[in-house]
């Protein structure tokens, strides 16, 4: 095994293990912290893929913002809402089956994908991928429309957040 593979396996174990803890732990704050571990594992995976920018964005957005938002949300609830009740309802068997089927289907489809059996082309040394990304984001023959639409989409999300916040005040 190459060192890359060992790191990948450790990382995958971290992601899957902490993802399981997110759904099984009874303490909501612990669940949020396990979620942070999962998201951090994903960031390491990006780092392994030499996508440093994406790895840092994952940390900044998911751990620095979304996880904090989750913890805030949990703390806004009353304590009575935690530590009590079961984790599952009576449909858990069916949903476990559905999840298994989805996983099996995805695994089946992906197993026939060529990307698994072939090695990706190496990026030529000295390529500034970040510069290319910056240029592509605002270039008219690349992603300028998605770039501006993303801004509109986020504006819509902000309007939605404002609407929820103001309607709950009344």
């Amino acid at each position: 095994m190459t060192p890359d593979q060992i790191i990948f396996l450790l990382c995958a174990a971290l992601i899957v293990g902490s993802a399981l803890m997110v759904v099984t732990t009874k303490n909501l704050v612990h669940a949020a912290l396990w979620l942070v571990a999962t998201l951090f594992g994903v960031a390491i995976l990006y780092g392994l893929l030499q996508a440093g920018f994406l790895a840092l964005v994952q940390v900044v957005v998911y751990i620095g913002a979304i996880a904090v938002l989750f913890i805030f949300a949990v703390m806004l609830t009353r304590r009575e809402m935690r530590d009590k009740g079961t984790q599952v309802n009576h449909n858990w068997g069916i949903s476990a089956l559905l999840a298994l089927l989805t996983f099996g289907g995805l695994a089946f489809i992906l197993s026939s994908w060529v990307g698994f059996s072939s090695t990706a082309k190496a990026i030529p040394a000295g390529t500034d991928t970040l510069m290319m990304l910056g240029k592509a984001l605002v270039s008219p023959d690349a992603y300028v429309l998605p770039f501006e639409v993303a801004s509109i989409l986020l504006l819509a999300a902000l309007v939605g957040a404002v609407y929820i916040a103001t309607s709950s005040k009344e």
Partner: protein, 118 residues
């Protein structure tokens, strides 16, 4: 490229181990005689009333929500800022339109009174 991220990874591991060392030293060297009074919650000597999990203003959550949206938007701007020197003028203006939409969002939130702490 790869080696630099490997280096950061190693740094992360050592960076976590180093702060643990004094804690372990303290664990072996420090006395350990707990008693209920010593371990009680510290509130300047006054007996604790009720639970420590107090409910917070919803305002904290709203600020976190607004922050999240701006955080995502600024992340988009980093590659643009980096490549700015090599972009044509209209591409720079596209980035500025992006920021203007962002400011519109901020103005809207402001007008709706969400930035008030009340």
């Amino acid at each position: 490229m790869q080696s630099e991220w490997l280096y950061i990874g190693l740094f992360l591991v050592i960076g976590i181990i180093v702060p643990i060392v004094p804690l372990v030293a303290s664990h072996f060297l420090a006395p350990h005689k707990p008693n209920p009074i010593k371990q009680s919650t510290y509130e300047c000597g006054i007996e604790t009333v009720g639970e420590s999990w107090v409910q917070f203003k919803a305002q904290y959550y709203i600020f976190a929500l607004v922050f999240l949206i701006f955080d995502v938007e600024t992340v988009f701007l980093f590659p643009w800022a980096l490549a700015l020197g090599k972009l044509p003028l209209f591409a720079v203006l596209e980035g500025i339109i992006f920021i203007l939409i962002l400011i519109a969002g901020l103005t809207f939130t402001w007008r709706k009174g969400l930035l008030e702490w009340a």
